[in-house]
């Protein structure tokens, strides 16, 4: 199924958890995740399922003033 990940179309398996999405992305460092503008706490990554069409944002800290 398709989701919108950081503004771009992205394919994930049906019934995919946030945890497995993260593993597929091979992210490093600290990040935070929002699905349809709701923050997903780290403790919910393994239980939270992704639905088709979800708008997912994964953010990190970068240089800024």
């Amino acid at each position: 199924m398709k989701v919108l990940l950081n503004g771009s179309s992205y394919s994930v398996k049906n019934n995919c958890s946030v945890d497995s999405l993260i593993k597929n992305l091979d992210l490093n460092g600290k990040y935070a995740i929002e699905i349809n503008q709701n923050i997903i706490p780290r403790s919910q990554y393994s239980n939270k399922r992704i639905n088709s069409g979800d708008k997912i944002e994964i953010v990190q800290a970068i240089g800024g003033g």
Binding site: G7, K30, A32, I39, V59, Q60, A61, I62, G63, G64
Partner: protein
């Protein structure tokens, strides 16, 4: 700031020894940012919150691996937000990112050319964030009435601009800054507009509790040397403020006595 011990710099119950707060933007690379920050002696460091680059730059070090939250107080900003809702959303993501760390720099901008803040949106966002247990350091104009209003809302620090962000024009309205400082009971930190060391000293001589800067260091020809200069300027300005400057006079006043002259 009306504080019984004038020399303690405290924000949201944490005591800091450096009154210089620095940003991490506009550096050539993360390592240059780290070297400048180390040289500046800053303990509070701002960061921006942006989308992770999916599948790119795998070897690029994560900013927080270099500037560790264990060593620095990380101050996430809401730079680039032009409405209260996106600023609030950014703060919520930042708090999750930083494992519940609730100190944020709130800025809601109004205009791309001047980057002046949108005060009505900033007031609205500040109120919401304070109610949601954020510790809000708020970027605002140098209007003393508005500065007081942010304090009343419950912001932990009020941060008036000296001049537009990234302009390096220095303190444009010292009278307003002084007025804000005199009426404040939370720390007042000049945020934005400092261009060189003397600008930072002037802010501190006016009685500000600290100065937050980014471009003045990052865009110096030698950022690391400038970071050291800023550290000294902040300390010199603070000490001059505490020492209390001499009165200004219209005419000269001889330093050597008239009595005892043999000529």
């Amino acid at each position: 700031m009306a504080n019984s011990d004038k020399n303690i710099f405290k924000i949201a119950d944490s005591i800091y020894s450096s009154r210089l707060l620095v940003g991490t933007g506009k550096y050539k690379n993360t390592q240059e940012a780290k070297s400048a920050i180390d040289k500046s002696g800053a303990e509070i460091v701002t960061v921006a919150i942006r989308r992770t680059n999916i599948g790119q730059e795998k070897n690029e070090p994560n900013l927080l691996d270099i500037i560790s939250p264990d060593k620095f107080t990380i101050l996430p900003n809401t730079a680039g937000c032009y409405d209260a809702d996106s600023a609030i959303r950014t703060c919520q993501l930042a708090r999750e990112l930083l494992d519940g760390h609730a100190l944020v720099k709130l800025e809601v901008l109004a205009d791309k050319k001047t980057l002046f803040p949108d005060i009505t949106q900033t007031l609205y966002a500040a109120e919401k964030l304070v109610n949601d247990n954020f510790k809000v350091m708020v970027y605002t104009t140098d209007d003393p009435i508005i500065a007081k209003r942010f304090e009343e809302i419950g912001c932990v620090a009020v941060m008036p601009l000296a001049a537009p962000i990234g302009s390096g024009l220095g303190i444009q309205n010292p009278y307003n800054i002084r007025s804000i400082v005199e009426n404040a009971s939370v720390p007042i930190i000049v945020d934005a507009g400092v261009g060189t060391a003397s600008d930072a000293s002037i802010a501190m001589e006016l009685g500000c509790d600290g100065v937050l800067m980014n471009t003045a260091i990052a865009e110096a020809k030698n950022p690391i040397l400038m970071a050291g200069a800023m550290k000294k300027a902040i300390q010199a300005g603070r000490e001059a403020y505490l020492a209390g400057r001499m009165p200004k006079r219209a005419y000269a006043s001889a330093s050597s006595p008239i009595d005892g002259r043999f000529f």
